[in-house]
Symmetry: C2
Subunit: 516 residues, 2 copies
Amino acid sequence: MSRQVEPGQTGVIPFGPSGHGLKARKLGLIAGSAEPIAVMPEDCAICRAEGLTARTSILVEAGDRQIVARLMRSTNDLVAEGDIGLSDEAWTRLGLSGGEPVNVRHPQPVPSLSALRKRVYGNRLAQADFANIMFDLVAGTYSDVHLASFVTACSAFPLDLDEMIALTQAMIGAGKRLTWHQPVIVDKHSVGGLPGNRTTPIIVSIVAALGLVIPKTSSRAITSPAGTADTMETLAPVDLDIEQIRDVVARENGCLVWGGAVDLSPADDIIIGVERVLDLDSAGQLVASVLSKKIAAGATHLVIDMPVGPTAKVRTLQAADELSFWLEAVAASFGVKIRILQGPGVQPIGRGIGPSLEARDVLAVLQQRNPPADLADRACHLAGALLELAEFAPLGGGAMLARNALESGRAWDKFQAICEAQGGLREPPVSAHRQVVLAPNAGMLGSIDNRCLAQLAKLAGAPASKAAGVELHCRLGDAVETGATLCTVHAESRGELDYAMQFYAGAGAIFGIEEP
Amino acid sequence: MSRQVEPGQTGVIPFGPSGHGLKARKLGLIAGSAEPIAVMPEDCAICRAEGLTARTSILVEAGDRQIVARLMRSTNDLVAEGDIGLSDEAWTRLGLSGGEPVNVRHPQPVPSLSALRKRVYGNRLAQADFANIMFDLVAGTYSDVHLASFVTACSAFPLDLDEMIALTQAMIGAGKRLTWHQPVIVDKHSVGGLPGNRTTPIIVSIVAALGLVIPKTSSRAITSPAGTADTMETLAPVDLDIEQIRDVVARENGCLVWGGAVDLSPADDIIIGVERVLDLDSAGQLVASVLSKKIAAGATHLVIDMPVGPTAKVRTLQAADELSFWLEAVAASFGVKIRILQGPGVQPIGRGIGPSLEARDVLAVLQQRNPPADLADRACHLAGALLELAEFAPLGGGAMLARNALESGRAWDKFQAICEAQGGLREPPVSAHRQVVLAPNAGMLGSIDNRCLAQLAKLAGAPASKAAGVELHCRLGDAVETGATLCTVHAESRGELDYAMQFYAGAGAIFGIEEP
């Protein structure tokens, strides 16, 4: 009781004694959420000494790395006193290999929390605010609760143009950015929501064959039965690092790889995860999501495929026009030339839904062997727009040029060359279990519920089961007889096939057959 | 490939085969968040068969109980194939004792998600919407992300009067409700933010001694160094069930118990947890929080203590008037008579901050042995308002009646009787480690930072360490000499004391001493 302490001059909260030397232990647990997990014994001495007994999140330090983790407490021998159990995500982000000493302490207040609160109360944010929020979000200092609040606030008060530009810039700044020597780098994006529609490998093959540079990085499926990376993976390796990507592009003008290794706009993936849980998707977030990825990838010329239909992502022409306006305005502010092609989004494009089935469609188009005409047409249309935008074709002449490249076999040659450069062309796998869906009555096929069809493909196992999915045998407007085959469901296991068929039986009319 | 499936007529998604008979295993893990945890082996057959491989949350069923749990995946032998590991929260909510078969399947869509989305987009919600949201929230079908979105939406677009009434009603309806035979049931609430201020045990003793019925249920600390239940627990048992509470109230007119066993407005505790993380507290949520708890407890007459000051919860007189308006309007709609006493909130009330130290203040006032005058005055003022509101005293005569009960020893007699009825009066514990904080210079004590002072008490171990906290030796306006004792920090362990003192050294001026 003799020491005298005088108040200091700073407002900084010191963080207790360092060097607890807790032993890090890998729990062997994938938490699968934004927040990694740390487990310590209930009522452990260090938690008490650090005043952490009532905390739900803590700062964990190993060497010069630190993360904010959700603190859980073990009530048995899961974690021993003096140890700290970490989820696989925590282990990876701390760069641990085993045996390193780890310290725990109070998390610092989230630096951008005041900016987040400002936005919740309806105030507009400046560039620096968005930059701080995206930095914190990518650094892992945002919990799910913070993320959800940010997404909600940006839906409650939609982003204005300045904010969209600022958020796009902030998302680019919070990740890596690719630079290329060539002055014109083309790229393509589909707003999505339409099953199938796997035009990207075809477009890349066409425009790269004609001399455009298109270093295409694609995502894996988030909510859909397949992403372009999932489909391409059935045809060639896609998990390339940045040096390998540069090599492929230098040799072939284009590539078709997974973007995950390149860390472009990592905030986008985090935000999308929360939007999905809340079923919120605002125009501003979508614009920043699309453009941050493309600009970070180095694109200077961008074509956007925007299917419009009642069960597509963009449901009305009015929504399509609004979204197009924002995309064009934000792209212009970054000096990116953009062209948006709205198109019909009432039924899948191509026959296959699922990685392997879509890959077969791509091969059919490139090899010109019984190609789905709608897929070939859409790919030529989009490739033509890219050729025109990059001034490789006169206005109105792009699609013809693209079709020539396809029909002459140049695109197929280029596709094979790209796959070889990425590690070798391979054959997509074939499903082990199949079941056909028959028409319960005769009539004209009047409608297809794209969302339910995608769900059917997912329940059959896509995209994790590469060969799983749905193969369509009908198109809108077809006259069908009772008992005609509408589609075939493909699965890799009997259980997945049964589950998908149960869903189909209960889902109501995926196929709307209008009796004459 | 021979079975034919015809589309059904319903839109309901069936939930796969039941009866997996997974073996439930207790992980020995307290998750400590809104979402209980379920762990299954990575890539387990049942997850694949059920299409759960990409899910982050699943429905877990045991008998007729079900919960939504966050799904995590074990990559080692933490959970064996055919087992499911559950956090303590999941175990308890499923009512498991061990060995029961458990099923997993897709969670049903959160039923109130569309109402939540409506609110996010700025639409007002009706009574039924709030009822559905509160039901889902208490049932555990809301994840942290949903909770954060709800709280954010109610801050972005503040609740209007109809919504406050609807939310209050919904929160009452989502928990238990106490009923009493007596027509007049009084209660008291403090809006908080001011350390110390432990008037409740004194008020209950006074008004119960004078014949009012006051079945007082209190909370434990959430963010403060002590809740009334924490303080009372150092003096008597507080963990009573509803029958025991009825017995005590029947005998003594009042009780001083923890409300946790009674399950009043459980949604309140869940919402408060998220508001704290986001540092959001809207007037509407506060009104619904306070009134739902009190109305569920059966109160008909309510006095509210509202300290106002720059570091209290309510910071300005304007905010106090606004909050008072909403409280009065919503209380009126439920037929509850209410009186709100705004008061100075610039410094702690009483000398002690922390469970045991505050209990000593309470005893000093009740026993009339060197009582802190401010605490006695505030308690008599509030008790007087209750007596007037319940027409036990004429307007303006309540405080005098209360003081008489205190000074005559009747309140002390009643307090002892209540404690005996609850299980026996006991002596608050005394701290093992103490350190004094001395004035660095001479002058007049011009300000106290209540938030930093509360933080100091918490870092010293309060409320988990009952004897920990801060004992104040000065009041605003005091002339202090250099080296005068400003306060004593109490702790139960040396580590906690050191940690608190480090914070004090870095926290800047908790005590503002103005040089003459």
